[in-house]
């Protein structure tokens, strides 16, 4: 419960808002764990565990549906306005982005099956190195974006938006590295394409974290910054600003 969900004269309203809020945190934890596990399967060359990760994505989907139902019911019952309305719009968007983070984690798990299942052809371990290093980065982005929502911490949200540019650079750098494998031996093409897909999934996860951080700015400030450059977001949030 935070300043956005508490304080209604009708206490049941607080409870319903808090329930939705908790669902977001639960989905956030689950998709971060999924991402962790997916990359771990790649590291440990474990296709069986990768299948378990893919199977577990259904839990994310179920929570997504559950949140959507709770959201619709709450809108119908309470006709929220002002910060309550912004909270619900934000929850709706965050849940959608988190569900897609789950989908991207599933894609990385599929990569493990593609590379290491039975008689599959294994890639050069150097090729997947950047996936490992980028994972920690994007996982922290997702965690921070969800925390910024939970704590209404605009500085944390802005940091996520800011570091997404670093992630983009990291992604481009990783693509350049992969191209050297192709130059060395054209037969690497199959593996390179799959690794690119894995990198792309991580880059998209970073994008979802950035989106979530943007929604938090909307939630607190009432201003839609999704399509604004970083400078405009900083101008809106201001230095050292905290939730009013």
């Amino acid at each position: 419960m935070n300043k956005m969900t508490e304080g209604h004269t009708v206490k049941r309203y607080d409870g319903e808002m808090t329930h939705l809020h908790q669902l977001v945190l639960e989905i956030g934890n689950l998709v971060c764990d999924q991402l962790d596990r997916a990359v771990q399967t790649l590291k440990e060359e474990d296709p069986n565990e990768a299948r378990a990760v893919i199977e577990r994505d259904k839990q994310v989907n179920q929570l997504d549906v559950q949140a959507e139902e709770a959201l619709i019911t709450l809108i119908a019952k309470r006709q929220p306005v002002a910060k309550d309305l912004r909270e619900l719009i934000t929850v709706n968007r965050i849940v959608t982005d988190l569900e897609r983070v789950g989908d991207e984690a599933r894609k990385i798990a599929s990569l493990t099956i593609c590379f290491y299942d039975n008689d599959a052809s294994r890639p050069n371990p150097q090729m997947t190195r950047d996936i490992m290093s980028m994972t920690e980065f994007v996982k922290q982005m997702v965690r921070n974006s969800v925390e910024s929502f939970d704590e209404l911490d605009l500085q944390k949200a802005v940091d996520v938006i800011r570091v997404n540019e670093d992630l983009e650079n990291e992604f481009k750098s990783a693509l350049r590295t992969l191209s050297t494998f192709l130059i060395e031996d054209g037969r690497n093409i199959g593996h390179v394409v799959h690794v690119v897909l894995g990198l792309r999934a991580l880059e998209r996860i970073g994008g979802h974290a950035k989106n979530i951080a943007g929604y938090v700015v909307f939630l607190v400030k009432g201003k839609d910054v999704r399509h604004e450059p970083l400078e405009a977001v900083l101008a809106e949030v201001g230095p050292g600003s905290a939730f009013r």
């Binding site: 304080g7 209604h8 004269t9 309203y13 306005v81 002002a82 910060k83 309550d84 912004r86 009432g222």
Partner: protein, 295 residues
Amino acid sequence: MEIAIEEKKGGALAASRSALAAGAKREATVPREDRKTVGDVAVENPRMTCREVNVYYGDKQAIKDVSLDIGRNEVVSMIGPSGCGKSTFLRCLNRMNDTIDGCRVTGSIRIDDNDIYDKRMDVVLLRAQVGMVFQKPNPFPKSIYENIAYGPRIHGLARQKEELDEIVEKSMQRAGLWEEVKDRLDQPGTGLSGGQQQRLCIARAIAVSPEVILMDEPCSALDPIATARIEELIDELREHYSIAIVTHSMQQAARVSQRTAYFHLGDLIEVGETDQIFTNPRHQLTEDYITGRFG
């Protein structure tokens, strides 16, 4: 006139407290200077201009330095908890408070640049110019036709029967009532349904060619369908008139008005575009009220 933006502050009150207790708590915790109006009280080319209006009932001050414009062809809704002064302010706009003993109004209220509290102002004419619709439909105990014809007749707006007929028909058409009653104009107005009676009262206000229509909770005694019809009518009437409406239904304020004014303990706390007020209010008191956190 842009007045200082207030920081949001303070928390919500316990649910178990009564509205009165909540109000008293706010009174104690929100300093006077933090209750200056947030938002632009002025509009371009206003129909009515109110500046620093104060209303006293004996020693008690019910309205405190309220300034607000009523624009042309706009609906302004006034919201706030019970006892906040929104109805008192509305009643100042056509001097209905004159009828209350011990009521004193200071400040300036002008319509088309004429001071409505000027001694030379004809109050009967003013109330034709600024019509009013009340919470409970109050048709005269006369026929439907006479309910509408009475005003134009005493104000000398029609010289012949044909002209009066035309005013009656046009007023009822504008009020969305004509098709339902045109075949029974001689029947008593009190025999209509609640929603029809309220539209009859609106037609009666329209018949004397007002510039402004004041509505004091016009739908609170109506069912949802009748309410929807009145809301639709308000939207249509905006084409010809300025409308100020007091309502306890925030959803209604959000649906029908272009600007919303939030009153609290006699202060006009915030005024702004309705879209802004209901998505991102700038004052904590407005936010707390419209999100159901007190009041």
